[in-house]
Amino acid sequence: MPLEQKVKYESDCDKEFATWVTSQTGGENLRHCIQCGICSATCPLSLYMDYTPRRLINLAREGFKKEVLSSFTIWLCASCYACRSECPKEIKVTDIMYMLKRKAIEEGVFPRRFPIPVLAREFSRMIFMFGRINETLLVTDLFLRTNWFKFLTMTGLGFNLMRTGRLSLMPDSIKRRGELRKVLDAIDAEEKKEEVK
Amino acid sequence: MTEKFEPRIVAFFCNWCTYTAADLAGVSRLKYAPNVSVIRVMCSGRVDPQFVLDAFARGADGVLLGGCHPGDCHYAEGNYKTLRRMRMLERMLKAMGIHDGRFRLEWISGAEGEKVRTVINEMTEKVRALGPLDLPGKTLEWDKELKELEAHVNQSAPKEEAVHAR
């Protein structure tokens, strides 16, 4: 890990960040956090994180936006909702993680070659095209975009899936793709309208 | 005979400060040496120097006296009287060959449970280092010497005088 800047100045903070989080769906209870750490304790992935969920919540609340959005933590969340169901203050930690992931993608600050944000984007692209997901294609695509070398190590799994008839290489698709796109486009239009405001 | 010498120490604690402090040490589960047995008095001023002498005479290796801090006596000034008396007693004990560390006067307030532990542990160690006092044994010896002297006197003195002396 690179040597961190040791002293943080208030000018490093985004004073509005916490307010932004609480204004989003799922972020309402952010400020109620009492830093008990049960989220980090119950999180099966906290040991892989650069900031534990508890610490991330604190950083978000104190306005350390840069640290929060560029952290690995948000991308390691597996959405198991353990933290959310344990939290004594009913903070929707998982939803906050989603919110921070979206913000990180929007601001382009997520770790570049980290596969998860790439996966998320490919996932939504595929839905936009077909309305459904083909796991095989999604995964293949993902590895080719991030770490094609790792793809080779996975070929054994591919063979196994093929053997058991679980692999399909044809994208499944819904019938009324236009209808779905209309819905998604309508939301885009609505959000543009808001931005103009 | 290689067994470690365990001193026996008698303590006189005033009811209001030092005895309460010892209770507090108990409630706080402080651990200290089991060599000190406490006798409760209402005020350290009740302690007659004879009590101290008697304890030594009956085999105590040390005597500890605990009272309220000067100015804090429940009975206004009992501990000042104790102080005066015990200074005199200390001189007397010294003259009898009873070492400094065997008699100790300490002011311990009701809040000083910790001090009870420290004082008892320190004193136990000190007296242990000094070894047994065994004043009763010494007294027996002195008695024996006296008897021998008496016998000697009786032998050499005229009979009627000896009878008179008895």
Binding site: P44, L45, K101, K150, V183 | -
Partner: protein, 286 residues
């Protein structure tokens, strides 16, 4: 008993065996299920990371279609079950979100009212069909078999309406009804790392290994799960786990497969062969 059925992408792909066994068991129990017409992907966990409103709209389309017909919606996939429920909850709680999403749906001729009811097959089997009825259908009880009931995260969290979040029991009851025994273990709802194994294998594999190892240690002959992602993750990566940690060789079955076997349905009907770690040896021993 008539239900609508939302298979989701997984049950059409890597989780084929789940669909096969679920439909077979339903048929045998006389539960009528009709696949939701022209359903689309629920958005799963990934879409939420990209666009929140759209992810609600995606699920909203399915719910709007479901509302056109009578009958609760059964969503066997944990992620689908969670996302559909989350959508309904979110649209109920947040009026602004509701306005945006229903507006967008309306523009495509879809009417969302929020009246659908999304349920999990565990819920339907235990609470609607009932254990008594299921026991009557058990023709070949799996006596002497020991399973580890593994629920995974998203069936019970955070919308556990039909079971406990920390100590769920519905699947245990079904396994018991099938005549088998369940091991007692504390990892019933611990995350298997499914959403990470493909992307951050060092984390994902370890989480899966923890589950497999503990199940084995507790004497389970197989893990039984209601989640296609968990099944894939626990079943599919055992070679990698063997390379990194140790070989476990633990078959991972769907609870519908276990029920089906006890009800005397054939292994091929239930997609037993689709397991990468073969369950045949274990099942032959019964």
């Amino acid at each position: 008993m008539k239900y609508q059925y939302f298979p989701g992408c997984s049950l059409k792909g890597m989780g084929k065996a789940y669909e096969e066994s679920f439909l077979a068991v339903s048929r045998a129990l006389g539960v009528e299920v009709k696949e939701l017409e022209d359903w689309n992907c629920c958005g799963a966990t990934a879409y939420m990371s990209v666009d929140e409103t759209k992810s609600y709209a995606l699920a909203g389309r399915n719910l709007a279609i479901a509302e056109r017909n009578a009958g609760d919606v059964i969503a066997p996939c944990s992620a689908c079950y969670l996302v559909l429920n989350k959508t309904m909850n979110g649209l109920k709680e947040h009026t602004e979100l509701n306005r945006k999403v229903t507006g967008a749906l309306k523009s495509a001729g879809l009417d969302y009212k929020g009246t659908a009811k999304v349920r999990h097959p565990l819920d339907v089997l235990v609470n609607d069909v009932g254990l008594e009825k299921i026991k009557k259908h058990v023709k070949a009880p799996l006596s002497g078999m020991k399973f580890a009931a593994y629920y995974g995260c998203q069936v019970v969290r955070p919308y556990a309406t039909f079971d406990d979040q920390d100590e769920p029991v519905t699947m245990d009851k079904l396994i018991a009804a099938a005549g088998a025994e369940c091991v007692t273990w504390p990892l019933k709802t611990r995350c298997c790392g499914g959403s990470l194994t493909g992307t951050v294998p060092e984390a994902g594999l370890r989480l899966a290994y923890i589950i497999l190892k503990e199940a084995k240690k507790r004497g389970a002959q197989a893990i039984v799960t209601p989640c296609p992602l968990c099944q894939f993750n626990l079943d599919g990566y055992q070679d990698q786990i063997a390379a990194k940690y140790e070989r476990i060789d633990m078959p991972v079955l769907y609870f519908t497969q276990v029920l089906g076997l006890a009800m005397g349905l054939s292994a091929s009907e239930l997609g037993i062969k689709r397991g990468i770690i073969s369950a045949e040896a274990v099942l032959a021993g019964r």
